[in-house]
């Protein structure tokens, strides 16, 4: 952190900048020489080493410039009044952002002539919004660091896939069942795990996520193992399917319109939109009920909760189970959308992505999580040509956030009840939870 005092002379500041930026330059040089400076060329008789001094120089200069900018920016931030003012601005902007975002989400598939690709992308983003909101209950409200959220997503998806495969259940029959099974799994996993705290909890949940995936992979007689399960039915619209052949019993046949793949995508879009809104609505309701308040109190101080007669273990379990339930709903939706699922869709990277969305968005904030899902999932998918840089983008976004807004996009908390006007609570006062 910068320790600049307003009275520091310009010369001192300059020397400080030069020293700091020089260090960064040397570091950048050391890192960039092997990564950028050297290059292996395929050659007729093997490999040859090439050099790229110009590119190397550009890289180092960029790193130094970036550091100088960060230093200048940090010095400006010393004026704390500005920071508070900005926090208030962001909070008031939130009031307009929410309805705008909501309106955009409702109207997106109805834009005339919109390509199927964009609606499909909307479905993908909305799935992650829902997962983010589900995990937000566990991480943001209850303060339990769960690195294995994908396990519940997988349980939901496989519940539907297996029931459809063996017993020909439909999507709408399976949707509540998937949530129920995932919640049951949440309780089963939570029971032994929740006596652990902090880092230990994180590691064990991570392991549970992997265990579920490995069981699915290896239980070949039931799940088909790595080959996955095919021909999972799409959802029907009051009994009408979306076959492109048209005719009686299909959506297009019934309404007398031409079959179009967009009809199904749009339908899927509104299903996941509705599911995500349900997640959000339930979370917002729960926050104002004793259970939600107990979750937040648990995040703030577990020992105090115990002294007030709150059953800490059961309260944690409810957070785990309800978070898992929404993960299960999302998993069921994922299976019906894809038609096909395999264990590859439920790797640790999914858990990490959802957790990153929650952390970037600001743990506990519904709006922040939605914005983060758009940024983390939507933007990389739009920039398809740059998809090889996706992880780079990911890392950069996380680093920038750590420097600029360590508690996420929206880090303030709205009180759940007030005698007068609700005043936002700044993130410095809020605990992040210890497990």
């Amino acid at each position: 952190m910068s320790d600049a005092v307003p009275a520091v002379s310009g010369r001192d500041t300059l020397i400080r900048y030069l020293r700091d930026a020089g260090g960064v330059g040397i570091l950048a040089l050391a890192i960039f020489v092997p990564f950028i400076g050297l290059r292996l060329h395929g050659h007729m008789n093997g490999l040859a080493l090439g050099y790229r001094p110009k590119l190397l120089a550009i890289g180092v200069v960029l790193a130094v410039l970036a550091r100088v900018l960060v230093l200048i920016w940090q010095d400006r931030r010393v004026h704390q009044g500005r920071a508070a003012w900005r926090a208030a601005r962001i909070a008031s902007a939130g009031k307009y952002v929410t309805p705008l975002l909501l309106g955009f989400a409702v109207l997106l598939p109805l834009v005339p002539g919109i390509a199927n690709f964009y609606i499909d992308l909307g479905v993908l983003v909305m799935t992650y919004v829902m997962l983010g909101w589900g995990l937000n209950i566990v991480v943001g409200l209850a303060g339990l660091l769960d690195l294995g959220y994908v396990a519940f997503y997988a349980v939901g998806a496989y519940s539907f896939a297996l029931l459809a495969h063996y017993y020909h259940f439909t999507f709408w029959e399976c949707l509540p069942l998937s949530g129920l099974f995932a919640a049951l799994w949440g309780v089963c996993l939570g029971f032994p795990v929740l006596r652990l705290r902090g880092d230990y909890l994180a590691i064990v949940t991570l392991a549970f996520g992997e265990i579920i995936r490995l069981v699915i992979t290896n239980w070949i007689s039931l799940t088909g193992g790595p080959n996955g399960i095919y021909n999972i039915p799409h959802p029907t619209f009051f009994g009408l399917n979306f076959n492109l052949g048209g005719g009686a019993g299909t959506f297009s046949g019934f309404f007398g319109i031409d079959p179009d793949p967009k009809q199904l995508t749009t339908y899927l879009y509104y299903i996941i939109f509705f599911l995500a809104l349900l997640t959000n609505w339930v979370t917002l309701r729960l926050r104002r009920l004793p259970m939600g308040r107990a979750w937040e109190a648990l995040r703030e101080d577990e020992i105090a909760c115990r002294s007030l007669g709150i059953n800490v273990r059961n309260t944690k379990l409810t957070a785990f189970a309800i978070g898992a339930m929404f993960g299960g709903f999302a998993g069921c939706f994922f299976a019906t959308r894809q038609n096909f699922i395999s264990p590859d869709s439920f790797t640790f990277i999914e858990s990490a992505t959802v957790l990153a969305i929650v952390v970037l968005g600001g743990a506990g904030s519904q709006l922040g999580v939605a914005l983060a899902a758009v940024v983390m999932i939507g933007i990389p998918a739009l920039l398809q040509d740059l998809s090889i840089y996706r992880m780079l983008f990911f890392g950069l976004a996380l680093v920038i956030m750590m420097v600029v807004r360590p508690r996420g996009f929206v880090s303030t908390r709205t009180p759940s009840i007030a005698l007068g006007r609700r005043k936002l609570i700044s993130s410095e006062l809020i605990s992040e939870g210890h497990g």
């Binding site: 729960l286 004793p290 101080d301 002294s307 009180p415 700044s426 809020i430």
Partner: protein
């Protein structure tokens, strides 16, 4: 006067260290019972045993209810002591829900009563049932204790932003919102200025008048001698004196424990000096 809390032969060992050894005492209903003693005497450990944070190595802790039934606290899981035994406590190092508002802190304290009205949360999520009504009652109760502790103006501020003295009072208000029969206060006057200390005395007397008995750990003899009905003195985990304030003040064992036989001593807290 009837007995409320009965501690008999309480022993608490941590590995080789015996923090509390063979301690027996009773606290009467409607009394303010003070537990005093030099630093490290084992006072907080006794509180932790009573409120279920430690499981005693030996001994019994019994609550006598008004209907003559008894409840063995040492057999209950930690959280049930506040819920079923109706024993509330505060902490030596303040433990508030810092990121939640003052009012929210008081609402969390009424969790069990509120939760019972939510119909397993399901009905309340759908906006059905009598939850609204019960919540309104809870807010009224919170308002009463806000008024009693002088925190009404700050009800909507985050607890962590309150000044120190106000945080101490909030912790007491929060404990009172659980509707306890016994309130255990661990050094409530620590860090308070003389005026705040006076207000605290008044608050504690008000709590007693409302029918809640108090168990009080305190180093500030001004507070202890003035308001307590009964004093228990601990030293090195053992009870060395037990009686009315006037007797304790002149008890030679107490004086030597406080002035020290050369080992641990605490000159600020000599009971005779502070009157």
């Amino acid at each position: 006067m009837t007995c409320l809390l009965e501690v008999s032969n309480l022993v608490m060992r941590f590995g080789g260290l015996t923090a509390v050894s063979r301690l027996s005492f009773t606290a009467m209903r409607g009394d303010i019972t003070a537990v005093i003693g030099p630093n490290g005497a084992g006072k907080t450990t006794v509180f932790n045993c009573i409120t279920g944070f430690y499981r005693p190595s030996e001994g019994e802790i019994i609550i006598h209810r008004e209907d003559q039934s008894t409840l063995a606290l040492h057999r209950l899981p930690g959280f049930a002591i506040a819920k079923r035994g109706r024993v509330a406590r505060t902490f030596q190092n303040i433990r508030l829900f810092g990121g939640m508002t003052v009012l929210e802190n008081l609402m969390v304290a009424q969790h069990n009563r509120l939760q019972a009205a939510t119909g397993f949360t399901l009905l309340a999520v759908l906006g059905l049932g009598r939850y609204r009504h019960v919540e309104a009652e809870a807010v009224e109760r919170a308002k009463y204790w806000l008024e009693a502790t002088g925190l009404t103006d700050r009800a909507d501020e985050p607890a962590a932003s309150l000044p120190y003295g106000a945080q101490r009072r909030l912790e007491i208000a929060r404990a009172m919102c659980t509707d306890p029969v016994l309130l255990c206060l661990d050094e409530p006057a620590a860090g308070l200025n003389p005026r705040e200390s006076e207000e605290l005395n008044a608050l504690l007397l008000k709590i007693r008048a409302a029918g809640c008995s108090l168990l009080l750990i305190e180093h500030d003899m001004g507070v202890v001698m003035k308001i307590s009905d009964h004093i228990i003195v601990l030293d090195h985990g053992k009870k060395i004196a037990d009686g009315a304030p006037a007797d304790i003040r002149t008890n030679p064992a107490v004086i030597s424990a406080y002035l020290g036989d050369g080992d641990d001593d605490d000159e600020d807290a000599v009971p005779v000096a502070a009157q």
